[in-house]
Amino acid sequence: MSSLRILVGVKRVVDSAVKVRVNKALTGVETTNVKHSMNPFDEIAVEEAVRLREKHGKLVSEIIAVSCGPTKATETLRTALAMGADRAIHVKTDSALEPLSVAKLLSKVAAEEKPDLVILGKQAIDDDANQTGQMLAGLLGWPQATFASKVTVDGGALEVVREVDGGLETVKAELPAVVTTDLRLNEPRYASLPNIMKAKKKPLKTVSPADLGVEVAPRLQTIKVTEPPKRQGGKIVESVDELLSKLRTEANVL
């Protein structure tokens, strides 16, 4: 294979350290005035793309970051550019996006950009859907390797070590393919100042779902979002007998 083009999907989500709260209308979590960052699994995806280039040099001809969402998604794209992506595509929409919509948008972008490898986070930490990568592979008719903890590219072949319940599973696939990242794949780098400055000058193209010919209106309706019940405070018991009795009568576990 003479060159490798990598497309990386990144999503702007509520920062993982923020304690989310349900909004007053009970339609979702509160997002106004809340810190947003790049989805951590997507950071790992960008990092992996950059590491592939560091390993293979000129073989990786281009790393393209793509994000679907409102205007602010450009901030997330700038982060990806600062981490090492070469250019960015912003699919701009204020509509709520379901995984299938995102997969369709990404498949259209892929059709245009013709990447050899698409790397996505295994899931976004806001909706935890874990569907986009799989759906995208289905739409494109490409092989998929999900939950990657190690990615190796050798010529036109891809080898991915996956984290599965029973341990590690190694799969091989032909490129082009879709990979989704798991937590232990790598530790993303910091965005350095020189790279942040360079990122400002890197090209960022904006397109709309209509440009890509994708209808993104949600198919699902969220009826209600509520917080889990508050945890009851612990109790200190005086004796083993009391503990046993409480386990029987209150906790109902014995």
Binding site: A17, K35, S37, T79, A82, Y190, S192, L193, M197
Partner: protein, 506 residues
């Protein structure tokens, strides 16, 4: 978090040597008898008393370890009794009795101090405030919180944080230190640059005097010019005038937008340039400007298992933080500062945190320094205020003296690290010397030299750590005789029998 780690590792290392000057026990203080214990038992619930068999109790002396030794394991007392009252009235009864019977008392908060101020020297009764840990009231409009002295700083910050506010002080020991101790020692920390001293943010105190008098000055007024402002005397008095039992403190709005960058800086002169420019460009949103040297960075990356945000090593690192209410506005200000710093070459490399986790990691690189040095060996700590231009000179100076003395040349030598870090904006340097153990041949190289050096620059021998036992004999390097004399008079007025935190401060 640091606090919890400290609490666990507190007694792991047998580094203790009697290196500090331990004053002889004052024979005027009464030794505890069974009748004293009877009184304590009458006043306090049984579970709030720890007493060893030596005074007729049943507690294993091990249970008192955490009250007798400081977390650096440098200072150690021999108290047989720990009292942990739950109410101000109980504190009052205890102090009144101890005063009448000339029983020495050491008030203790989270015991995270660095100058031996919070642990007994001999057999003083430890009066721990940890059971007084309730928030008494919070005013959602003014952001003023009134609470017991034993509230842990981090828990208070979480409490006001849920209500949209933030504590005006923050320090590495926040998970263990208590607000009463913070006030009693006039703690500084990393928010000082933005929110200033506790002399400004503490609005009122409830203090129990040695004779049992409760000075109720728990004001929640921002303005109150009615006579002498007595509470100011207790802020920074290190438990030598009275026992703080309640605090009211004004808390600023919690910033909704926080940015943190770590910068690699080629020289100390450039650190100063960067600070000057940061103030000019970021103005009111600048909330921290911390610096540390490569020796600190090496220790912290190793012990905290962190990865440097920068591609290479630099003589100095700077952490700059902005906090504000409008992210776009702050981003723009910080962005233009960082660009200017890079383009002018003042800063050679840097990284800007992209998410909250990176912000925490970057702060860990600064806040994790004391703990990381502590894990490397016995740490001599000097906390000095000197004019910013000469602030760092002392580090090279001391390193040179140690090398000349043949103590800091090869890995076999006793001194492992000589380093400096601190709050550049406040003119406050933490000079640390890490040795394999505390030992006189090392100590005498820089004591009292450090103090003489500070005095020659009209600096302070204790910027934020206080005097305690460690610096009592060196107070004269920072304060003229007349002032110390008046301090003594004030001490005698509040505590004529000298029972409160004896052997310390003065």
């Amino acid at each position: 978090m640091l606090g919890a780690i400290r609490a666990r590792s507190q007694f792991a290392r047998p580094l203790l040597l009697r290196l500090y000057h331990k004053p002889a026990r004052n024979a005027q203080f009464k030794k505890l008898t069974s009748s004293d214990m009877e009184f304590f038992k009458r006043v306090l619930p049984a579970e709030t008393i720890l007493a060893t068999p030596a005074v007729g109790g049943t507690s294993d002396p091990v249970e008192l370890e955490g009250f007798n030794a400081d977390w650096l394991n440098k200072y150690r007392g021999d108290s047989q009794v720990v009292l942990r009252p739950k109410t101000t009235a109980e504190v009052s009864q205890i102090l009144k009795y101890c005063n009448e019977n000339k029983i020495a008392v050491v008030p203790q908060g989270g015991n995270t101090g660095l100058v031996g101020g919070s642990v007994p020297v001999h057999d003083e009764v430890v009066l721990s405030l940890r059971n007084m840990n309730k928030v008494r009231s919070f005013d959602d409009i003014s952001g003023i919180v009134t609470c017991d002295a034993g509230c842990v700083l981090e828990e208070l910050d979480n409490y006001v944080g849920e209500r949209g506010y933030t504590m005006p002080l923050d320090l590495g020991a926040k998970g263990s230190c208590q607000i009463g101790g913070n006030v009693a020692t006039n703690a500084g920390g990393i928010r000082f640059l933005r929110y200033g001293t506790l002399h400004g943010s503490v609005l009122g105190l409830e203090v129990v005097l040695p004779d049992g008098t409760i000075l109720d000055n728990l004001s929640t007024l921002r303005k109150d010019n009615t006579g002498y402002d007595l509470k100011q005397l207790f802020i920074g008095s290190e438990g030598s005038l009275g026992v703080i039992t309640g605090v009211s403190i004004t808390t600023p709005q919690r910033p909704s937008a926080v940015n943190v960058a770590v910068l690699g800086v080629p020289s100390y002169a450039a650190v100063q340039d960067a600070f000057r420019l940061a103030r000019r460009r970021c103005g009111e949103v600048l909330s921290a400007f911390e610096f540390w040297d490569q020796s600190c960075m090496g220790a912290v990356l190793h012990h905290q298992q962190l990865k440097s945000p920068l591609a290479s090593e630099f003589p100095f690192y700077v952490l700059v933080e902005t906090s504000g209410s409008n992210k776009d506005h702050d981003d723009e200000k910080l962005g233009s500062l960082l660009e200017e710093l890079m383009e002018s070459g003042t800063v050679e490399d840097g990284a800007l945190a992209q998410d909250e986790q990176q912000i925490r990691r970057m702060w860990m690189m600064r806040e994790g320094i004391p703990e990381s040095l502590g894990k490397t060996g016995a740490t001599y700590k000097y906390d000095i205020s000197i004019p910013i231009p000469v602030l760092y000179d002392i580090v090279g100076d001391i390193a040179g003296k140690l090398k000349t003395a043949g103590l800091y040349q090869s890995s076999a030598d006793p001194v492992k690290i000589v380093c400096g870090y601190g709050h550049i904006g406040d003119g406050n340097l933490h000079l640390n010397v890490v040795a394999d153990k505390f030992q006189n041949r090392v100590t005498e190289v820089f004591e009292p030299y450090v103090y003489e050096w500070v005095a020659s620059h009209r600096g302070s021998i204790s910027a934020e750590h206080g005097v305690g036992l460690m610096k009592r004999d060196y107070l004269g390097y920072s304060k003229p005789k007349e002032m110390i004399d008046y301090m003594r008079r004030i001490k005698a007025m509040f505590d004529p029998n000298g029972i409160l935190n004896p052997y310390k401060v003065l």
